[in-house]
């Protein structure tokens, strides 16, 4: 029932009653995000906590509003995946004043005052980009001539797009033969990835590598590559990030070459942290999600047990 959910706001003792977590999600803009939401919801149910879930529909304003409302409702712990990095100090201060601990998930904030939140749990986008780049450097170590790379960026101005681009660029700087010849935004969508790739293929006669900031754009680009009469995975090496099911399938099928995982399954770790934070235990300032990378063989092995 929803009419009584606001009722247990007085259970601030932590010992009595259920732990109440207010969680503000960015939105439901991708399958990845939905998996992330589901993981958090399921873990909360399993742990027996009460979860107040809010969907900010991709707007920072909405998230700030939601956090304010959580403060009003005197939840025990506030967790949220910030839409953007900056701009949280004011509301986080209010949370601090109300003595409600805050946990950041998935994306970090750039507050100078680190005491505003207890911990961060999530992936490191720069690292994902770097992993992708490092694999490529190793893969093409023997390449004699120049290697032409095209890049499919995420939504212009979004944190994952910025960071993954940065990490990748840093990594491939190791080999001057590796050169990004074209880089455009595919808005993280399949249709966008396909449309941009079509033009890349026409504009650049020799493309050796495609780096896509997420699986979906990579999957869209696959279609463009096939339509242009090339063999994905062979003629063009494809590297993506995320490792959602469709992406893993493509990897297992040999159409992708490498995926750096960005795991959405933060739920269990988050619940664990929430409990510790509420109990006043020490927690590390930064908890990274357990993530890995996949090659084609690893994907074949992992695919049967993937949850999302």
């Amino acid at each position: 029932g929803n009419s009584d959910t606001g009722g247990d706001s007085d259970s601030s003792g932590g010992g009595s009653g259920k732990l109440v977590i207010g969680f503000s999600q960015v939105g439901a803009e991708s399958g990845w995000r939905t998996a992330n939401t589901n993981s958090i919801k399921e873990s909360a149910t399993e742990a027996g906590y009460e979860l107040k879930f809010d969907d900010a529909q991709g707007k920072q304003e909405n998230q700030i509003k939601a956090i304010r409302n959580f403060i009003q409702q005197k939840v025990d712990v506030i967790a949220f995946s910030p839409v953007v990095e900056s701009g949280w100090d004011t509301v986080l201060k209010e949370a601090k004043d109300a003595k409600i601990p805050v946990i950041l998930t998935d994306r970090a904030v750039d507050s100078a005052d680190k005491s505003l939140y207890k911990t961060f749990i999530g992936s490191d986008f720069v690292k994902e980009g770097r992993l992708a780049g490092e694999w490529l450097v190793k893969e093409k170590a023997s390449a004699a001539g120049p290697v032409n790379i095209v890049e499919l960026q995420g939504t212009t101005g979004s944190a994952p797009a910025n960071d993954r681009k940065k990490g990748f660029a840093e990594a491939i700087a190791a080999n001057p033969n590796l050169k990004v010849v074209a880089s455009q935004s595919g808005d993280f969508t399949r249709a966008g990835g396909k449309q941009v790739m079509e033009q890349f293929l026409k504009a650049n006669p020799k493309i050796d590598v495609l780096f896509a900031h997420n699986d979906d754009m990579g999957l869209g680009a696959l279609e463009a590559i096939t339509a242009a009469g090339k063999t994905p995975g062979k003629d063009i090496t494809i590297i993506t990030i995320d490792a959602v099911k469709d992406g893993m399938q493509a990897l297992a099928d040999g159409k992708f070459n490498f995926i750096a995982e960005c795991s959405p399954l933060l739920g269990p770790q988050l619940m664990d942290l929430a409990k510790k934070v509420k109990a006043g235990e020490e927690v590390p300032a930064r908890v990274e999600t357990e993530e890995t990378t996949f090659t084609q063989e690893q994907a074949k092995a992992a695919l049967p047990n993937r949850k999302y």
Partner: protein, 330 residues
């Protein structure tokens, strides 16, 4: 049958509300009903702070909606507002980051919006181009400036900005922010301008019938340019408030805000065809959107997609009731 007196003026007694105020009052009443539902359903909803938060969290939306009300009253539309808000915040953040004096930044930031608005108004008036397309170009332009400045968000650490952002004005146990007060002040000024100045009258006149207004010797062009400038100014103020609110400039902030703003204005009873509506209505419109949002957050059980469906549903119920009340009193 005896001769009925010439029912010339739709006669009415003093206690009856003029028919054209009915929609606004109906909206206000419905808003109260909605609020009561929230209070009865969710415990903490009755805190006064919830009401204050509505103003704190929607200050910039309110200010921008005020500007949009002027534009829509003339029968125009301004799609650039969301981007101009973002651009203002972005410019402020980057200038502050470069160590410019906050007062100077404030002036510059407050100038950019009106200048762009003025330019758009001139194009709309002198070249007789549809506002939709001109302001859409303005929207691309302003957003382009945002990403051009930086693709990453820029934090603001300036002392003036942070104190304006974090200063709380206490009213009893509760508090409001500086931004909320500015927003309320803008609403008051705008309402006065619309009701008590020539500009205000001309705005309604242009919206009523541009051709007639012209023939009546009213400054149609000047009025049209003025409203887009005002809208630009309001967007600039909104941008400043947003930069207070988030203490940063982000290139992708306030995307799609123009739709929220237009929705708020129209829910407030302003006709999109122009000539009829009130600032007070716009205030109510913003409150309605915000209460819907608050209700959903307080509920806290909705799925992402159910959130959207419920927002749409509540909007529908609200509009429907508003409409039915309107018809009933006709």
């Amino acid at each position: 049958m005896t001769t009925t007196p010439l029912a010339a003026s739709p006669g009415r007694a003093w206690w009856r509300v003029p028919p054209r105020h009915v929609p606004v009052l109906a909206t206000a009443a419905l808003l109260l009903v909605m609020y009561s539902i929230g209070v009865s359903q969710y415990q903490a909803f009755s805190n006064i702070q919830v009401v204050f938060n509505v103003f704190i969290d929607n200050g910039f939306l309110l200010v921008v909606a005020v500007g949009m009300t002027f534009v829509i009253l003339t029968g125009g539309i301004d799609l650039s507002v969301g981007s101009v808000v973002a651009m203002t915040a972005m410019v402020s953040a980057s200038l502050l980051g470069n160590g410019l004096h906050p007062a100077l930044v404030l002036v510059i930031a407050l100038l950019i919006g009106p200048v762009l608005g003025f330019a758009m108004g001139c194009v709309i008036h002198f070249f007789d181009i549809q506002p939709f397309i001109v302001t859409l170009a303005g929207m691309f332009f302003a957003r382009g400036v945002c990403t051009w400045i930086s693709t990453t968000s820029i934090p603001i650490t300036d002392g003036f900005w942070t104190s304006a952002a974090q200063h709380r004005i206490h009213l009893g146990e509760n508090f409001v922010s500086v931004g909320a007060l500015i927003a309320v002040a803008v609403v008051a000024v705008a309402a006065a301008v619309l009701a008590y100045t020539r500009l205000g009258r001309n705005v309604y006149a242009v919206g009523g019938n541009q051709q007639s207004a012209l023939l009546m010797g009213l400054p149609v062009g000047r009025t049209k340019i003025a409203v887009y400038t005002i809208s630009g100014l309001c967007s600039a103020i909104g941008g400043i408030l947003l930069s207070f609110y988030t203490l940063s400039g982000a290139p992708l902030i306030a995307v799609g805000m123009e739709l929220d703003v237009i929705a708020a204005v129209v829910i407030g009873g302003t006709l999109l065809t122009g000539g009829s509506g009130y600032i007070f209505g716009t205030l109510l419109g913003v409150l309605v959107l915000s209460i819907i949002q608050t209700l959903i957050t307080f509920d806290g059980t909705l799925n992402s997609w159910w959130t959207k469906i419920v927002i749409g549903g509540l909007l529908f119920v609200f509009i429907l009731l508003q409409r039915l009340v309107g018809i009933r009193t006709k």
